[in-house]
C-alpha cells in the first residue's frame, strides 16, 4: 500500500547517509581524485612538472592520459593551520566570486542525504555574521571584491577562509584566483563532495 504521508515515506526509505570518513567513499568519479604517472603530460595548466602532479593546478582535462592515470584516492592538500576551536560546531558561508556553477553545486551536495554534513557538526549559514569560515569559489571578479571584504568583516572572531576549486586556488584556465590567505585549499574542478567533506573535517583537527 502506498503511503501518502511524507514522514512514513521518509522512514520507509531507510538511512541513506554513508559513514564517511569512517568507511571509504562509495563512488568517486575517476577524474576528480589523485593522478600519477610518468612521462610527457601535455598539461595546459602546468599541473605536472618532473613527473610530479600538483592537485592545486589540475583541471582534470585528461590530456596527460595514458601517461598519467587516476589513482582512486581523494585529491588533498594539508591544512596550513588547525582550527580545533571549531570542533563542536563549524558554520560555513559559501561565497561565489566567479564560478561556473559546478563548485557551488558540489558544495551544496554536502547537505544531501549521502553526505549529511550536519552529522559531523558542520552547518551552512545564510549570513557571514554566523560564519566561522567563508568558502570562496571561482576566479577573481573585481565587483565581488567589496562584497567579500564586507562579508569577511562581518564574520565574528575567530574566523577563517577556505578556497574551494582550482579557480579559487590558482585560477585554473579561467582567470586569476582571488587574493586570499586560506587555511586549506580544496583542489578539484570541481572538487568531489567527499574531498570537500574530508578537508572540512581535517581543518578542525
Amino acid at each position: 500500500m502506498k503511503s501518502k504521508n511524507w514522514f512514513l515515506k521518509g522512514v520507509n526509505r531507510g538511512i541513506e547517509t554513508e559513514r564517511f570518513p569512517l568507511s571509504p567513499p562509495d563512488e568517486v568519479a575517476a577524474w576528480s581524485g589523485g593522478i600519477a604517472g610518468k612521462g610527457n603530460a601535455n598539461c595546459p595548466t602546468d599541473a605536472i612538472t618532473n613527473n610530479k602532479w600538483d592537485a592545486e593546478k589540475c583541471i582534470y582535462c585528461r590530456r596527460c592520459f595514458p601517461n598519467y592515470k587516476p589513482t582512486g584516492n581523494l585529491a588533498r592538500t594539508e591544512p596550513k593551520k588547525s582550527h580545533g576551536q571549531f570542533k563542536k560546531s563549524f558554520f560555513i558561508y559559501p561565497f561565489d566570486f566567479g564560478t561556473c556553477g559546478a563548485c557551488n553545486v558540489e558544495l551544496r551536495a554536502l547537505s544531501y542525504p549521502q553526505y549529511d554534513l550536519n552529522r559531523l557538526g558542520i552547518f551552512f549559514t545564510n549570513t557571514p555574521r554566523h560564519a566561522d569560515a567563508i568558502v570562496i569559489m571561482g576566479v577573481f571578479t573585481p565587483k565581488m571584491r567589496d562584497a567579500f571584504l564586507l562579508a569577511y568583516d562581518a564574520m565574528p572572531e575567530p574566523k577563517t577562509v577556505i578556497a574551494l576549486g582550482v579557480c579559487a586556488i590558482t585560477g585554473g584556465v579561467i582567470g586569476k584566483n582571488p587574493d586570499h590567505v586560506s587555511v586549506i585549499d580544496i583542489p578539484g574542478c570541481p572538487p568531489n563532495p567527499y574531498a570537500i567533506l574530508d578537508a572540512l573535517i581535517r581543518v578542525r583537527k
Binding site: 511524507w6 568519479a29 582534470y60 561565489d96 561556473c100 553545486v105 542525504p113 545564510n126 549570513t127 565587483k143
Partner: protein
C-alpha cells in the same frame, strides 16, 4: 553552414546572437529583436536590495526590489557582479573547449556539444551517427539532473524536508552515474570533434530506479495543497521571448530538439510536451514530464549507441582549416547557440546566445505584482544560471 542560412527574418525569433538576429533556421542582420528592459525604475515605498552574496542564492547576483512591504511593484537586477571575461579568441579549438566546458559547469555537456557542432559545421565535418547518439544521451542526462536540481531548489524554501531529501538524494545518484560512466560528474574532458570518449551501454537500466522514485515524489508534491498553493499563479508569464521549459510550460512548443537539425532528435519522433498556465506550478510539472521524456530518449539511444555504426565523417587530415559555423541545441534551460569563425585552426570569432540570457528578463517581468514570499519559488522555477549570463568572450 549546414544548419543555418543567412536570410530575411523567418519563423521563431530566438534572440540576439552577436550582430545577428537568430531565428529557427535563419540568421538575419536585420535587428528586430528589442532587448527587454532589465532596469525597471522603482516607484514603491522602499527599495530592498537582495544580494549579491547571500545564502539564499546559489550564485552572486543583486536584485533590487521595490515594495511597499509585501507586493513587488518593481524589480531590477545587477548580474555583473560575478562577470567573467573568458579568453577564447585566438585559442586552438581544443584549448577553447577547456574554457567552454567551464562557462556553465552545470550544463557543461550542452555547451561543449553546441560548441563542437558549430566547429564541425565550420570545418565541413559531418559527425558520425554513433557520436551524435552519445551526445544526445549526455544532454538528456544533464537535463534529468538539472530538472531534479531545480525541483529541489523549489521545494527548499517551503521547508519541505522529506521531499527535499528525496530529490537531493536522486540528484546525487544521477551525478554518481554520470561520474561512473564518464569519469567526471560534469562531463568534463570527454567530448571532442566527432568523438565522445564514453561507453554509455547499460545506462538506461541504471536509471530505472530513479524513474520510479521521481514518480513517488511527483505524487506527493502534487498532493500537498500548501506547496501547490505557493506555486500556482506565482510568476505567471506567457512570452514569445522565453525559451526552454519556461516557454513550454506556457503553451509554446519551442524546442531545439524539434526545430534544430544539429542533433538527430527527429529520427526519434520526439515531440515536446507542454503545460498551459505559465506559472511556477506549470514549470514544476513541465520539468517532471520532461524528465520522463528524457528517460525515454535515453532508452532509445542506449540501444542505438550499442550498434556498431560506421564512421560517416571525413578523415581528420582532410578537414577544412577555416570556416564559419553555427549550431543550436536544447540545453536543460533552453535554446543554446554557438556561432564560430575558425581561421587556421584557431578561434577567430565566437558569439554565444544562452537560455539564461533569454529567460532572465522574462523572469523579472513575471515577478512584478508578485509577493516577496513567492520570490524564491519563482526564481528557482526558472532554472537560470548567472554564470552563463555574466560572461564575456575576449
Amino acid at each position: 553552414m549546414r544548419y543555418y542560412r543567412y536570410g530575411e527574418p523567418e519563423g521563431r525569433l530566438i534572440g540576439k546572437l552577436g550582430n545577428y538576429d537568430l531565428y529557427a533556421s535563419v540568421i538575419s542582420s536585420a535587428s528586430n529583436y528589442v532587448q527587454p528592459d532589465q532596469e525597471i525604475r522603482s516607484r514603491g515605498e522602499f527599495n530592498f536590495s537582495y544580494g549579491p552574496s547571500t545564502g539564499g542564492l546559489m550564485e552572486s547576483v543583486r536584485f533590487l526590489i521595490s515594495t511597499p512591504g509585501e507586493v513587488i511593484n518593481n524589480i531590477s537586477a545587477h548580474t555583473e557582479f560575478k562577470q567573467r571575461s573568458l579568453k577564447i579568441i585566438g585559442n586552438t579549438i581544443e584549448d577553447a573547449q577547456l574554457i567552454i566546458e567551464r562557462l556553465n559547469g552545470f550544463h557543461s555537456a550542452s555547451h561543449a556539444i553546441a560548441f563542437l557542432l558549430s566547429i564541425e559545421d565550420a570545418l565541413g565535418i559531418i559527425p558520425d551517427d554513433k557520436v551524435q547518439a552519445k551526445r544526445i544521451i549526455e544532454i538528456e542526462l544533464e537535463r534529468i539532473r538539472s530538472h531534479i536540481y531545480v525541483l529541489s531548489r523549489m521545494v527548499e524554501p517551503a521547508g519541505f524536508g522529506v521531499p527535499l531529501s528525496f530529490l537531493n538524494s536522486l540528484e546525487e545518484r544521477v551525478s554518481r552515474l554520470i561520474g561512473k560512466y564518464t569519469g567526471h560528474r560534469f562531463f568534463f574532458g570527454i567530448n571532442g570533434i566527432n568523438s565522445v570518449n564514453v561507453d554509455f551501454a547499460g545506462i538506461y537500466v541504471d536509471l530505472l530506479p530513479i524513474a520510479d522514485e521521481i514518480r513517488t515524489v511527483q505524487e506527493s508534491l502534487v498532493g500537498s495543497a500548501i506547496f501547490v498553493d505557493r506555486l500556482q499563479n506565482n510568476g505567471k508569464v506567457r512570452s514569445e521571448k522565453s525559451t526552454g521549459t519556461v516557454a513550454r510550460s506556457s503553451g509554446f512548443h519551442f524546442d531545439a530538439r524539434t526545430d534544430s537539425e544539429a542533433l538527430p532528435y527527429a529520427s526519434l519522433g520526439f515531440m515536446p510536451v507542454v503545460e498551459l498556465d505559465g506559472d511556477a506550478y506549470s514549470r514544476l510539472i513541465q520539468r517532471i514530464n520532461e524528465i520522463f521524456q528524457s528517460l525515454e530518449i535515453i532508452k532509445k539511444m542506449d540501444t542505438y549507441s550499442k550498434l556498431d555504426i560506421k564512421f560517416t565523417s571525413k578523415d581528420n587530415s582532410s578537414f577544412e582549416k577555416d570556416g564559419k559555423g553555427i549550431a543550436r541545441v536544447e540545453s536543460p534551460a533552453g535554446d543554446l547557440t554557438y556561432l564560430v569563425e575558425v581561421k587556421d585552426g584557431r578561434i577567430r570569432k565566437l558569439d554565444i546566445l544562452t537560455p539564461s540570457e533569454i529567460n532572465f528578463p522574462v523572469f523579472l517581468e513575471s515577478m512584478k505584482g508578485g509577493v516577496l514570499t513567492d520570490f524564491h519559488f519563482n526564481w528557482e522555477s526558472f532554472g537560470i544560471w548567472i554564470s552563463e549570463l555574466a560572461v564575456s568572450i575576449k
